[in-house]
Point group: none
Chain length 208, copies 4
DNA sequence: GATGAATGAGTTTTCATTCAT
DNA sequence: TATGAATGAAAACTCATTCAT
């Protein structure tokens, strides 16, 4: 979830260039969310953006680069939303719950981008055929695992393997999200509270 | 997960025809697992199977049909493995844990097919653009939710919305699985026991 | 219209072989009439005949040969119907009108075969890309032209180029036929009498 | 024969785009005239035009659209040639003869396009399997029938069913044309005068 | 900066034909 | 005699990318 876009590269772009890139990225997100990763083509993105196909490869060099931007941009913004909220918590349980809860909050107000990112993350592959974004996911797991570890030391949480459970926690959020992805009418926030309750019961040390 | 392939259709096929279909389906599973859904083409499947492209459409009629077979066949076999093990349990907690645990067990010995199925389920879309297999997923959630409901009535489990939690439980299994998908060296079975422990803590009624 | 199928070749075929060939030719006629020349494939013919694709090329050697049989068979049968009726007439006008009239009569009771033949005649081409059946058409024109010539000598018909007019007469029949081809409900026989009247007025010598 | 291409759509095309479309349409007409409808493929059209296959679908979207343009363009141009000549005539017989005669005149100077149009009209089918262009043919018949009707009221023409005879007249022209189609050396204009004479005798009221 | 045009490799699918059984 | 199986060429069409203007 945490991801640093190397700002050195970005600074070289003119203002108008940046605007175009964002416009194209937005159109791409829309297209991917609607059509799915496999059926999204430059032609459809251009159509959504109301521009010609040529513009896209003029600004981006490759289709890959656009989709990468869509995903990483979403990561960054989401993390900007989450980070201060997590830091404001003091207990480990609080931090974990806010990590998951604020993420879902952010997603709930950015449905299209979320759908696009999900499609891209589960499908985008590098030249060697392996999934991209494995690193980003690992980083996020590390972050949660670190919190869990501190919670165990502080006696807040029961004993378990922190990395495994961090992974499980983050993916159980995907469960709620994937229901929401297919049924937009579903109230994500109320599902979220069921989830947070579930997680709390799963990890806290029971009062003896 | 539970799915009945209408056997009437299958029975009309000759033995050799069936063998070819399975061979092609296997090659397709391999291709999807390796290349991902978006980049799997009939040409690559044919290449994997060591046959000409024409053979595939001779036996299958459409790419869709192959991928459908790959997925549903895997569902069926997995459910055949899971069902007796679930029925052998008596408590709700036992059934839920065996549901998840036996599923992971089956997956762990059928890695390629699992990867293929996962790709297909998250990407395959019907003519209207909506994800196929939504129904299969809903059925599985219903099955787990029913167990949870009975567990609550029996006083085994604490109060929560059974469907929401069923969804969360099944998706948290996906969490473990997706780590395994990217890192085959990971010991799925030991991760599984962490997960089952996690689930048990999350749903059982605490002794007062 | 007059066409001799070399009987030498046919006599070598067994009875059952002949029956198969006719069955296939009938199915082919049906398929061509329904789908049009361009979209008729061996697969569709086999389907109509309720046999496997292989049987067709076993009996026929090539798709071309089937379609050729469909057309020539129809020619022959139609000519068997027309010939005695034409010979029974004594005047040139009578013979011409019966030529056209009896042809339309035969067609009216063999709609499917007629449609197939029409498709095949206007589309079937030899290896050099030229239309096949040019010869058959020329023969028929010669036959009518010969009658017209005799009619002129006998003072029945006015002066005109017999071959040109023979051609025009035969094609004006196509006019009526093509309406009937697209609107099967149309009464071909009443259209036929309008046509015969039209032809008679066009060629007879007016009483001075 | 009369057909209005909605000019609104065309106006949006750039000059160069239009030129390309016409070039492709010309190549398509050539290909259809030479190979016949069934054997005309995008590959052959591209070959004739000296361009790559991709260019065609870039400019046209579908094979259908090209063939439609070839046919309708020819209709439009032919009608532009015929209309003023028909309106210049005063008698019904004159109008009918000019209708047919000017059509044949136009065709005689546009042989390739005529052949292509003929192939397309007799073979092109819509999604439902029925022939396209049935409407265009009906319109032309209506036009001639209307003239005949007026000729009957004016006492110029004898009694007959105007629509049936209009159909016969137009198709008898096809007779002459189809000879010409297969034998380009044939003098179409002299055949035309035989035909016009034939038609005049067939429909005029004989002086009593 | 921007774009329309062009390309050629790639997609799925259909098809006539061959062949072993 | 019959057929299911296999093939490879060809079909229409899509697409990411390049390039001249």
């Amino acid at each position: 979830m945490r991801h640093d876009n190397s700002p050195a590269v970005q600074r070289e772009r003119s203002f108008i260039e940046q605007a175009r890139r964002l416009q194209i990225a937005d159109a791409a997100a829309e297209a991917v969310a609607e059509l799915g990763y496999a059926k999204t083509s430059l032609a459809r993105i251009a159509e959504k953006a109301g521009i010609s196909k040529g513009v896209i490869t003029y600004h981006f060099g490759s289709k890959d680069e656009i989709l990468r931007l869509v995903a990483t941009q979403f990561f960054d913004r989401c993390w900007q939303y989450m980070e201060p909220r997590i830091l404001a918590e003091e207990t480990a349980i609080g931090q974990v719950k806010v990590w998951v809860g604020s993420q879902l909050e952010y997603f709930s107000t950015h449905r299209v981008e979320f759908l696009a990112m999900a499609e891209i993350m589960t499908n985008h592959r590098g030249g060697d055929g392996t999934l991209a974004y494995a690193e980003e996911i690992a980083e996020e797991i590390d972050g949660v695992a670190e919190i869990l570890r501190r919670g165990q030391l502080a006696g807040e949480l029961r004993q378990f393997d922190p990395r495994s459970v961090a992974n499980i926690i983050l993916r159980s959020a995907d469960g709620v999200l994937s229901s929401w992805a297919t049924s937009p009418s579903l109230d994500l926030m109320s599902q979220s509270s069921v989830l947070l309750d579930f997680i709390e019961h799963a990890i806290r040390k029971e009062p003896s």
